[in-house]
């Protein structure tokens, strides 16, 4: 049985890395239950990664199952092991580089904000920048910082500003930056010709929806939508648009859809439970069904 372990794990890894993200990114239900969808994405990524590493490791280690392995077999298995180690190393390196880059840039941001931002009674606890364009953002970290430009502060009504600030605070509270950093590291770890932005774009969108939900609970749908309209008005500098991400128009339409289908949303608990169950199964089942017998077999062979 254990000879099939690497094949099963590799197949699983390929399915989880290719078709599964493509399907999930096109599904419509995640926008209704973004939290559950985000958990599913995370478990999908974790499971794909564990399967891939498990496939390599089991293929590499299986050489102990033979009584007298030939040189070719030994070389083959050793290469599988080496490849696995390379993948793992690339992943760790990518996480390290991205972490350093982000931390450096955020430190610089915090420093600059300390030097030039002021406080304003209209938005307590917020760093206000006297800049030319309406803008609001959060510098992730502990504690995270909210930055708003003075045109944004002037343009937005009180409830719209409440929506903006609640949106940004939700990002800070839930450490969405860490979620995105994880997917970013995973994305950067793979060579350009095999990777896709699907997971990173989808999770970025879900994170925005989660923050939007926090904002609409505090301030209401229309103030949130108006804030989106006002702050999205600034024309993009050339080449600065992120492709494929959730657009402001889509975020507003989501609010409308949510309102119109509120009564039909009774299936939300079902969808949510299914998503969480799938997420748990993705991580647990391969581990138990495939890896455990293999571990036992290797242990017995030793």
């Amino acid at each position: 049985m254990t000879h099939s372990t690497p094949t099963v794990l590799l197949t699983l890894a390929l399915l989880l890395a290719g078709p599964a993200p493509a399907l999930l990114s096109r599904a419509r239900w995640p926008s209704r239950v973004p939290r559950a969808a985000l958990v599913l994405w995370q478990s999908l990524a974790l499971s794909a990664l564990l399967s891939a590493l498990g496939a390599g490791a089991s293929a590499g280690a299986m050489v102990v199952a033979y009584d007298h392995p030939s040189v070719v077999l030994v070389v083959l298995h050793a290469s599988a092991l080496l490849l696995t180690l390379v993948v793992l190393a690339r992943l760790l390196w990518s996480a390290h580089v991205l972490g350093m880059t982000l931390r450096t840039r955020r430190r610089r941001q915090r420093h600059l904000v300390d030097l030039v931002a002021r406080t304003d009674g209209r938005a307590p606890g917020v760093h206000v920048l006297d800049a030319g364009r309406p803008l609001a953002y959060c510098i992730p970290g502990l504690p995270s910082r909210l930055v708003v430009s003075s045109p944004a502060l002037d343009d937005l009504a009180d409830d719209e500003m409440t929506a903006v600030l609640e949106h940004e605070r939700a990002h800070g509270r839930a450490r969405h930056d860490l979620v995105l950093e994880g997917f970013g590291a995973l994305h950067n770890a793979f060579p350009r010709f095999v990777r896709s932005r699907t997971a990173l774009d989808s999770t970025s969108g879900l994170v925005e929806m989660l923050a939007d939900d926090a904002a609409r609970r505090r301030a209401g749908d229309v103030p949130l939508a108006r804030a989106l309209v006002r702050l999205a008005d600034a024309p993009a500098p050339a080449g600065a648009m992120a492709a494929g991400a959730v657009t402001p128009a889509a975020r507003i339409r989501r609010l409308t859809e949510y309102e119109l289908t509120r009564r039909e949303l009774t299936d939300a608990p079902v969808v949510t439970s299914l998503a969480y169950l799938t997420a748990a199964a993705l991580v647990i089942v391969p581990t138990v069904a495939v890896a455990a017998p293999w571990l036992a077999a290797v242990a017995a062979a030793l």
Binding site: V97, L98, T101, L102, R105, R106, Q109, R110, H111, L112, V113, D114, L115, V116, L129, D130, A131, R133, L135, A136, Y137, C138, P140, S149, D159, H167, E168, H171, H176, D177, G184, H187, N188, L200, A219, G220, D221, V222, P223, A225, R226, A227, V229, A232, D233, A234, P235, A236, P237, A240, A242, T247, P248, A249, R251, I252, R253, L255, T256, E259
Partner: protein, 146 residues
């Protein structure tokens, strides 16, 4: 010890001070200017100026046996750098944003789509804003179909 937040605040106050001065200032001058408004130790001022110099925000000029300090950049330049970073026009590591913006900038096409989406939301449900009176909008006709 001085806490990090307080150091950050002192950095700002000291930069403000340097920006208002015409010529490079000594630690003593900065300290004297500050001591009118706040209780801060001479050595703290020195530390903060040193930090600012290491971060490239002030320039250290040797003047005999002492140092003089002047801003390396103007306030406007710093603000411009902030905006530049925040608007994502610099992004080395595969477009992974360091900051979480409330909303990205829209292209001209998007701007129309956004306004249409807002109109749809407002028409669908004219009464909004839990516990809040709409101040800037009076065209809320009840339940008119889109």
């Amino acid at each position: 010890m001085v806490g990090r937040t307080r150091l950050g605040e002192l950095e700002r106050v000291i930069m403000d001070q340097l920006w208002t001065l015409d010529s490079p200032a000594t630690v003593r001058q900065v300290h004297e200017a500050l001591s009118d408004s706040r209780d801060v130790a001479y050595t703290t001022v020195m530390t903060v100026l040193d930090r600012l110099a290491r971060k490239g925000s002030v320039e250290q000029i040797r003047d005999g046996r002492a140092y003089r300090y002047r801003p390396a950049v103007s306030r406007d330049e710093l603000t411009a750098e902030l905006m530049h970073q925040a608007l994502d026009t610099v992004d080395g590591s595969d477009r992974m944003a360091a900051l979480l913006r409330f909303v990205g900038s829209a292209s001209a096409d998007d701007a129309d789509a956004i306004r249409a989406a807002l109109a749809e939301l407002e028409n669908g449900r004219p009464e909004q804003s839990p516990g809040r009176a709409e101040s800037d909008r009076t065209d809320g006709t009840a339940g008119s179909p889109p």
